[in-house]
Each structure stands twice: as C-alpha cells, then as structure tokens.
Amino acid sequence: MKFIVCVKQVPGSNEVRLDPETHAIIRDAHAAVINPLDYVALDCAVKLKRRNGGEIIALSMGIPATERLLRDACARGADRAMLLTDRAFAGSDTLATSYALSLGIEKEGSCDLILCGKNAIDGDTAQIGPELAATLGYNLITDVTEVIDIDKKFITAVKTTDSGSETVKAALPAVITLLNGREMPALPTVSGVRYSLEAPVDKYTAAELGADTSRTGFAGSPTSVVKTFVSENTRECRDMGLDAAAAAAFLIDEIRKAGGAQ
C-alpha cells in the first residue's frame, strides 16, 4: 500500500514572532519543527505499514530548508519524501496549499491513503485535509484517533465527535486527519537517523508539477489577512489579603458582577 503523509513546518517555540513590518510569521529554519499532529499522522502510517506492508512518502510544500524536516520524517519511518518548493507557492492560503499538495500526490500516480494532522499549531485552520479530499475527489474521515483496520479496499477508523466517538468505514483512496491518540508518536532511532541522511528527497517546482499559477501562491489565495497581532495578556494577579470566607464571598460577588451564575 502507498501512504502519503502531509507535513508542515511550524515554529519550534510556543512564542510566535511576527515581523513588525510585514506581520508575517518569522520562520527561523533552525528552531522549526514538524507540526506535532503531523508526527501523529506519520506514526499512524508507520504502524499501518508495519501491519500491511507498503511505502510511506512524506510530502511538504515549503521553503528549501524544509528538506531538513522531511529528512527528520524519514528518520521517524518515512521511506522517502517530496518537497514542493517554488517562489510561485509563496503566500499560499489553505486553498492554494491543498491545490499544490494535490499536484504532488498526482505526481505519485496511485496512492491508497493520505494522512494529515488535524490542524497545524500556527495557522490552526484544520482545512488542508478536507480541501485535499475535495480537490482529489477522495473519501474523508476527520478527527481520527485510531485506525482499526485497513485492507486493499477499505479503511475503518474511530473518529471523535462532539458527543463521543464514531467508527467509520470508508472506501479507499481516502484522506484521514489525525488527533492525538493514546500513545505519543514514536521517537526517531539511530538507524532511522542514519537512513534519513541518504533517503531520497525529491524536489519539484511549480512548473515541474504542471501547476496553473493562477491557483498557486498569492494569486491563488482568496483569503486575505487583514491584520495579525500577538494578543496581549492583560490578566493580573492581585493579593486581596482575605481569609477563606471573605475570599469566597468576594469571588461570588465578582462572578455575579461579571454576569455569571446566580
């Protein structure tokens, strides 16, 4: 079976830094990591491959330095990687990104299962998986916490819903988006790291993918970001110097004033 795992480069620290002029997120190549839920997707693919055999390809659209992270994906179990990198892709929103990724997937020819993290911790849209499925015309299962079974024709997976969980069976090819499961994704191994330095990482430009450039980058992105800013934390800590009873009375009063429970 062929598994494609989409991975995104995100900032390595919780503190997102914005360029004061352009308001774009500053991406420091060294501190960048793979989006945490994409590790979960990769780990899921590694387990499915262990059960069913096959090949895992890590796929990313990004700056050339993303190669480092794709090699990290290979250290964690991907067999090889594809990097879609071109100035034409700069400024892509989720629609343009999923279009570019879909071209990468088509370049691969056939594919059984595409795995994505549910959302990326920086943009937080959770749109790429669903948009990919729509663009490619594949089935989609979102919010997956566990894949129960996969064979040549079907995948059966448990997904989280607002009211609990559902077990869903879908025909392949399909896209699934993953949430954290019970286990942490496995860490790389020394043999994995050795392999990753030699693993094939194929790079493609927009032209090589046959992209319609009106659908990529800024041109292909209907989303326009009006303003980005780091929200200010205005909470403050006050020592009221009250004993337990007075503190409770004070809190009740404050909650009432704020329109809370009566």
């Binding site: 390595g12 620290s13 990591v33 945490p36 990290d72 250290a75 019970r182 286990e183 942490m184 496995a186 860490l187 790389p188 191994t189 020394v190 043999s191 994995g192 790291v193 050795r194 330095l197």
Partner: protein, 524 residues
C-alpha cells in the same frame, strides 16, 4: 528590620519536611525578604540560643532542610535576580538565595530578566547579554524547583555534571550571613588558604581563622562534608557546607553559552554488564557527551508499571519489551556534522555491546528532549509515589536512597556489589542516575520495617566498601542528617573532629543546621 517570627502551627507543618520525606520539629519560622532581615533575625535568634535551620526549596533528599528544633529560616521569598556583569566575554549573574532554578533558567532562555533593581553596570551587561547567543547555568539537579541557595549549600549536581561539573564550578562569589549578623563576602580568586590555614575577614572587620582538615578529598564526584585542599579558594569551603556555617544571602553565578546542538539518545541493553561496557567505551571515545545516565532493570520495571497504572505517566515512552536496562546520553556541540559523527560513534559502540540501533530514542528537538527528561524525572518520582503508598500502611517507612560514587575502574565492581547484597537480603530496589561518573542512586523500596532495617545496614556496609574503593559516600545530595553517620566512615574520627573545629569557628554554639554533617551529641 527583623522579619516576622511566626509560631509553627498546623498550617505551617509542611515546613517541617523536605523531599527526603522525613519530618522534624521547630518552634518558629520566618520568611525574610532581604539580607538585612536575615541579619537581624539571625542575630536575635542566635543570641537567644535558638537552633537555626535554613530552607530553600526543600527539595533536598538528605533531610538537610528538616528542622531539629528552634527556628526555621525560610528563604523562598528572596527570589530576585540582583544584577549582572560581563568580564572578558563571560557573563555573571547575582541572585538571591531563594531564586528557583526553573525561574532562572526561564529568565536566561527567554532573555527576560526583571531589571528594576539593576544598577548601571548591570544594565549594560544585560544589554550585552540580550545581544549575545543564549547563555546557560548548566547545573541541573532534575528537580527544577530547587533554589540556588540550596544547590550551593549542598553542591548539587545532576545529569549534565558529567560534562559541566557540579554547582561548585559555577559559583563565582557569595555573601554569607554569620552567627552575629555580620557578613562574609567571598569572591573566587581573591582569598586562598595558606597551605591548610585559612584567614577570613568579615565585612564588619572580624577575623575568622580556620584550620582545614588534613584528609584528602576523593577524586570522584563528591559532596561529602567540608571541602578541603592545600591552598584552596575560600569560596569552596562555603559551597557544600549544608547550612552549617551561616546563611547564604546572595550568590554570583558564572554563565556559559548554550551549545548550538543538544541531542538526547536513549539506548537499551539486555544486561547490566553490557550497559557498563558501553559506558566505559563511550566515555573514552567521545568528548562531547554532557551526560550518561542509567536506568536499571528495576527502574524499567517500575516505569512500565507506572505507564500502565497511572494516568499522569500514560504518556511515558513505550519501553522495548526485551530491554533489561537503559542508558541516556546527551551530545552537546556547536555544529551538526560533529553531532552526527558523535551520534553514529555511539551507535557503533552500542552495537558492539549487543544493543540494537533500531530500538533507540533519539531527541533532536527541544520537544523530543523534554519527553526524555520527563522519562528521567519519572524514575525518582515513581519511587517516591511507591513509598508514599506503602507509608500509608507502615508509617515508619521512608525511602532509602544512596548517593555514592567510585572511580572509573570500580564501576563494574560496585554494580556487582549492589546487586549481590540487595538480592541476598531479598530487597526490592531500583538503581538509576549518573553512571558516567560511576555514581548511581540505589533506591531501596522497603515493604516493611524489617526491609528498612536491612537496607540501612547494607548502606552502612557500602559506605565502608566505597571508601576503600576511593569513592565518596555523598556525591551530590549533600550529607544532611540522613548520611551524617557515613561521614565518619569516610574521614575517620580525626577527620570529623577537624570538621567540627571549622564549624565552631563560624558557629561557636553549634546552632546552624543542627544534625547536618555532625551528630549533634558528637558536636557537643
């Protein structure tokens, strides 16, 4: 001004304990907020003949901060960063003793230091610090709620001490409040002993003469009693003195640049002998390892059980089924090529020792490293949780934890000794910790009071054996109250008497940290 002296009641009973899980007694407690308050409080309590136990974060494992009557001087409210300086490209930071290690680390790594109290020199150094590559204070005693005062008082170490050394290496100067409220200011490189004779002058102009003990310190990692060496720096006497000479009111620390690359690696072995061989070969072959940490069979069994049974530990890494024991190591260097070379050399050596490269955990990002730190920290935490559970049935039980180190060539011998003695006594135990320094923590998990007594007897015997091997009875946690009896085994009667003379010249009435290092009766 003196800080408020409060009687110890039920609501303050937590201040009678530390992480050794033993409980003491005291009449009163204060929480000074400045050196002046420490001075006034010490002067008044001391002149009334009250014993004074100093407390930092109470994370100590040797009951050193557990009071033995009298007054508790708790420094947790003295947690400000006082200033910075830069000299020859090196940064120094001065902190109050109650500064918590994790807070200092956060301030350094985010480069956000509250500067309200800084003078012009400090501000200039701070600006240079902000413009420089990240700086670190390397000592890392696992429990990051420890305070800098506590770490200095017991010369704490930790995993990275294999490369960076103990807290001692990073303390550049200090202020010590003396029994009469006077202050001793010491800076590294300024006051040295003349042979074994040390003459100190306090800020108030008082002279203190000290005859240093004649014994030689072991060459291994060591935190056993007062430091002594010919022509030694006076700062080194105060570091590791376990709250028995006075109260540290400020400490200046040296910083160093954080390495560009820090990669963690855990590997698994089928037997302890293979792990020991691996340690021996790697420490000869590779110079840029910051730590070499061990988890024995008992530790892995305990962690496997914790993962299954305790929600808080459900996210622990899954340990390979055929693993008997594990070694964690951390590569620190300035570029990736060097890091890869070291990683693969470690890989070659581990294969030579029978380990499987495909069953390893490599952490090349901060996030992954945190997972391996969590695993490391889970070991002592799990031991403590197990003991707490058993304590409910047998209240007299406490953990029995050893902290002994030996020279390189004695590593295998000491491992065999541990296993043979513990197995012969039928005790449950885990061994973990700083195998790179031949310094393991053997934690006995007693099931009843018989186990507890048997364990204590074994530790006593080990103190003798380890002394014969040229080792130290306390390598990093300090001697405190729990290991005071071992000191005599290590230094003999005369050694202890010489140390008691040092204490008397600082603390004539024997009121500071009573029960630490010395048996109070012996001292009197």
């Amino acid at each position: 001004m003196k800080s408020e002296i409060r009687p110890i009641d039920e609501s303050l009973s937590e201040f009678l304990r530390d992480e050794s899980r033993s409980t003491g007694s005291a009449d009163t407690i204060s929480f000074p907020t400045s050196e002046e308050e420490i001075r006034e409080t010490v002067k008044s309590e001391y002149s009334q003949g009250h014993r004074i136990t100093v407390q930092g974060g109470r994370t100590g494992l040797a009951a050193a901060a557990v009071p033995n009557g009298g007054h508790v001087l708790n420094l947790s409210r003295m947690n400000k960063i006082l200033g910075m300086r830069q000299e020859n490209g090196v940064f120094y930071v001065t902190v109050e003793p109650g500064t918590v290690l994790s807070e200092l680390k956060k301030a350094l790594s985010s480069k956000k230091i509250p500067t309200a109290a800084f003078d012009a020199q400090s501000m200039e150094a701070y600006r240079a610090f902000c413009a420089s590559p990240l700086q670190q204070f390397p000592p890392d005693p696992t429990e990051s709620s420890a305070t800098i005062g506590g770490m200095t008082a017991c010369n704490a170490s930790g995993a990275r001490s294999y490369h960076y050394g103990a807290t001692r290496n990073w303390v550049e100067g200090l202020r010590l409040v003396l029994s009469d409220g006077d202050v001793l200011l010491l800076k590294r490189g300024q006051t040295f002993a003349d042979g074994k004779k040390l003459t100190l002058t306090s800020v108030g102009g008082r002279t203190i003469t000290v005859d240093l003990p004649s014994h030689t310190m072991p060459k291994t990692k060591n935190a056993s009693g007062y430091f002594t060496a010919d022509n030694m720096d006076a700062v080194d006497l105060i570091i590791g003195s376990d709250g028995t000479l006075g109260v540290l009111s400020a400490i200046e620390l040296r910083l160093c640049p954080e390495p560009e690359i820090m990669w963690g690696l855990t590997c698994f072995f089928g037997s302890e002998d293979s792990a020991a061989r691996f340690v021996d070969l790697t420490r000869r072959a590779i110079g840029n390892l910051a730590s070499l940490e061990y988890f024995d069979c008992g530790a892995l069994t305990l962690l496997r059980r914790q993962k299954e049974q305790t929600t808080a530990f459900a996210r622990l890494e899954k340990i390979p089924e055929d693993a008997d024991c594990a070694v964690y190591t951390e590569i620190h260097c300035q570029n990736e090529d060097e890091a890869y070379r070291s990683l693969f050399t470690v890989g070659d050596i581990m294969r030579q020792c029978g380990a499987d490269e495909s069953k390893t955990w490599v952490a090349r990002t901060a996030q992954d490293r945190d997972r391996l730190y969590f695993f490391r920290h889970a070991t002592p935490e799990s031991v403590n949780m197990t003991i707490d559970k058993r304590k409910k049935e047998t209240p007299g039980l406490t953990k029995l934890g050893s902290d002994m180190s030996v020279p390189d060539e004695a590593l295998v011998r000491v491992l065999h000794m541990y296993n043979e003695d513990l197995q012969a006594a039928g005790l449950e135990y885990v061994k973990f910790g700083h195998i790179g320094n031949n310094h393991l923590h053997v934690n006995i998990l007693p099931r009843n009071m018989e186990d507890y007594k048997a364990g204590k007897a074994i530790f006593k015997k080990w103190a003798e054996e380890i002394t014969k091997m040229g080792g130290a009875v306390s390598a990093e946690h300090g001697v405190g109250k729990l290991k005071a009896a071992f000191l005599e085994v290590m230094y003999g009667h005369e050694g202890i008497a010489a140390m008691a003379r040092i204490k008397r010249s600082f603390d004539p009435a024997g009121l500071f940290g009573t029960g630490n290092l010395f048996n109070p009766a012996d001292f009197e």
